[in-house]
Amino acid sequence: MTTSKKYNRREVISKGLSLGFMAGSAWILGRPDYLIAQNRLPAPPDLVAVRNGEPDAMFQKAIELMGGMSQFVKKGQTVVVKPNIGFPRVPEIAATTNPILVKAIVKACRDAGAARVYVFDTVVLTASRNAKNCYTLSGIESAARSAGAIVVPVDDFSYREVTIPGAKTLKTADVHSLVLDSDVLINVPVLKHHSSAHLTIAMKNLMGIVKNRMIYHLSGLDQCIADFCLFRKPDLNVVDAYRVLRSRGPSGPTDPKIADTSLKKTLLMSRDIVAVDAAAAKIFGADPLDIGYIRIAHQQKTGNMNLNEMKIATFTM
C-alpha cells in the first residue's frame, strides 16, 4: 500500500498564506524605512508653518518638514540667500530679516554642500555709507559671514537686463547678476507693514534683486511686483514672522522704543511664493485679497493664494 502524504486544500491555503506572510514580513523588516514612510506624507507639504520657537529652531523644524535642505541645495551648487536688509535698523525694529534666521539658513546651505552662499540686498537709499549701515546695524552681515556666507555690497554695475515673458507692466528689469548666475535662490523676507504696498513679504522682497525699483513705483507697484515673479520664482521662500512690525513700515522708526512690533514667533516656508504671502498676510491679520500683488499674482497663475486648496503642515514648538 502506498501511503502518500496528501495535502488537503485547507492545509495548502493556510501554509501558503503563512509562507507568504513570512516572506512579506521578511521583506518589510529588511527595509524598515518602508514601514516608517507609511506614517509620513508621501510628498512634502505645499506650505509649512511653525510657531512658538526661536528663529533658528523654527527653521530647523520647518526645513525638516519640507524634506530637508537637500531637496533644495545640491552639493557644489551656488546659492543666493536674499534677506530684507533695506533699512539701517537694528533687529529689534523688525524692519530687516532676523539675523539668527539668516545665519541658520546659510549654515544649512553650507551643510548641504553649497559651494558658495551669497547674501545681499539692494538697500532702499543706495548711498554707500547707508548701505554699510544697513548691513551692519541689521546684524545680517556679521551673522551671515560667521556661517560662511559671502556678503556682497551692491553697486551699479552688478546688474544685467532681462526680459520678463508675459509681464503686463514690468516687461524688462535689471536683475542682479549673482541671482542670474547662481543655481539656487532662497528668499528670506521679513513680514512687516508697508506704507504703500500694505504689507511686504516674499514677492515684495524680490524688488531687492532689481536695480531700478523706481520703475515699480512709477508704473504701478502691485502689478510690477507680481510681474517680476513671472521671470524668476525663488526655489524656497522662508518668511520671518518672529517679530512683526505692525505700523510705520517698511522702515519703522529709528528708535526701537517706539517701534510698533509684536512678537509672533512664527516662521513660514513654501516653494509657492503666492501661498506663503497669503499665509503671512493672515498671520499679520490682513485679508490676502486686500493685498494687490497677491491677488494679481494668483490671477497670473504664479501660485495659489487659496490656502484651503493646499497641504499645510503646521507645528507648534
Partner: protein, 511 residues
Amino acid sequence: MIWVRIRQVFSILVFLLFALLFLLPERFIHSGLHGLVAFQFVPALIRTLSEPEALFAAGVVFVLLITLCFGRVYCSFLCPLGTLQDILSRLSARMGARRTYRYRPPRNILRYGLLAITAISASAGAMTLIAALDPFSLTGRLFKHLVHPPLAWVYNTATGLLKPFDIYRHPLDTAFVPLSVAVFTGLFLAGVAYLAARHGRLYCNTLCPVGAFLGLLGRLSLFRLRLNPSGCRECARCEDVCKAGCLDARSASIDESRCVRCFNCLQACSKNTIRFRPVRRPGAGPVWSPSRRALIASLAAALTTGTAAISFSLRQPLAAATTPKTLPVTPPGSTGFAAFTHLCTACSLCISVCPTKVLTPSFMDYGPAGFLQPKMNYEKSFCDFECTLCGRVCPTGAIGNLAPEDKKLTKIGEAKLLDDLCVVYVDHNNCGACGEVCPTGAIRFVEKETILYPEVDAKFCIGCGACELVCPTRPRSIVVDALAVHTRAEKNISPPTPKRPGGLPDEGFPF
C-alpha cells in the same frame, strides 16, 4: 641747512595729514585729525569771531605769536597751499623748466587792497573773495573736487576687478561736482601752478589775504633774516633761490613782509653771511617810509569801515540785493541761510565727510555772496537721519555742532507734495516711495479702495530730502522747500496708523 630740511619734512607732513583728512575722512574723522584746522588762520579766525572755542582761539593766538616771533613761518610750515606751491615749483624744475628767482618790488596796493576788500566784504557778509582766495579753503576744494573723484574711480574700478575672486567691497561714493565748480577749481589750480612754476610764491605775496595780513605782522617779527654785507661775495645765490622774490642781493636787504621763511637763502649762502637772529628793536623796521605810514593809516581806515559795516547793518541791504529767489537748503546746524552764507569759506570739509554725499558744492546758488558754498542737493542724495558729521568738522562754525537728538528735530526745510504730478493722485496706482524712506513718519497714507494716497504732515517733517530723492516722477512731485531760518519739528512718538486687531498671537494658526 637743517632749517630747510625741517621745513620740508614738517610741511609735507602737514600737507599729507590734510590730504588724508580730505580724501579719507571716514578713516580719520574719529581720530581728531580735524583739530588741525584750528591752526589754519582764516577758519580759526572766523570761528573765534563767530562762535569762540578754546582750540580755535588758541590756534589764532598761536599763529599770531609765531608770526610776531619768527615772521611768516606759517606760510612755509602750516599752509597746505604754500606746500602745494613748493611741490609744484619743484616738479616743474624737475621737468626742466629751470628758473632762478629774482627780486621783485612789492605789489603793496594789490595785496593790501585785496586784503582790505576781502576783510570788509567778509565782515559785511559776502564771502566771495575769502572763499575764492583763502589758501586752506582753496586747498580743500582742490583735494575734494579734483583729486578725490579720480581716486574714487580708480578704487571702484579696482574693486570691480576683484569681484570674480568673490572679494566684494562697498563702492566709494564721491560728491557730485557741478561742471562750473569743477572748471573754476581747475582754472584756479592751473593759475596757482603757473604762478608757482614761474614765480615761486607770488600768489602768497599778491593774492593771498592771509599772506598779506601775516606780512603786516611779519614786519614786526623778533627774529629776522639779516644779510651781513661784510662777508658777502655778491654771488647772489641767495636771490636765485628766494621764491618769495623778497631778497635783494644788491642792496643786501630782505623784505620781512614778504619773506615766507623757507630758509633757502641760508642754505644757498656759502659764506654764512645770512643769519636768522633776533633783533633788538623789534618795533622799528629797517625802512620807515611815508608810504608805509600811509599804508597803516589806510588799513586803520579799512578796519574802521569794516566794523562800521557790521554795526550799521550793511548786511541787511546787501543780503536783500544778493539773495536768490529760491533758496538752497542749508545743512542742519547752520541755523539758516544768512548765518550759513556769512560764515562759510567753502573749504568743502563738510562735503568730504558727508556720508551720503548730499552736500555738494554750488556755484552761484546762494547768489554772488555765497560763491562756491555747499548746499543740500536732494537730486543726488539725502541727509542721513542719524548723522551730525558736517557740524562736527565745520571749522568756521558755519555749520554748528548739533547733538544727535537735536539734529533729528532740526527742520531745515519742508516737503511739499504736488498732487497734480504724483502718480498715486494722477494714475491711482500705489507708489509710496516717499513714505518708505521718511525717517520721521511725516508722510502718511490715506487708503481709498486699497490705494494709498500720500499726505505730508508738516509738523514732523525736518526736510531731510529722502522723499525728494526717491520720488520717481520727473519733475519730482515731492520737493523740499528751504527754510530761510531753521526751526524745530515735533517729535513723532506714537505710531500714526492704529494697531490692527488681527493675528492670533497665542492660539494656533489662522489657516
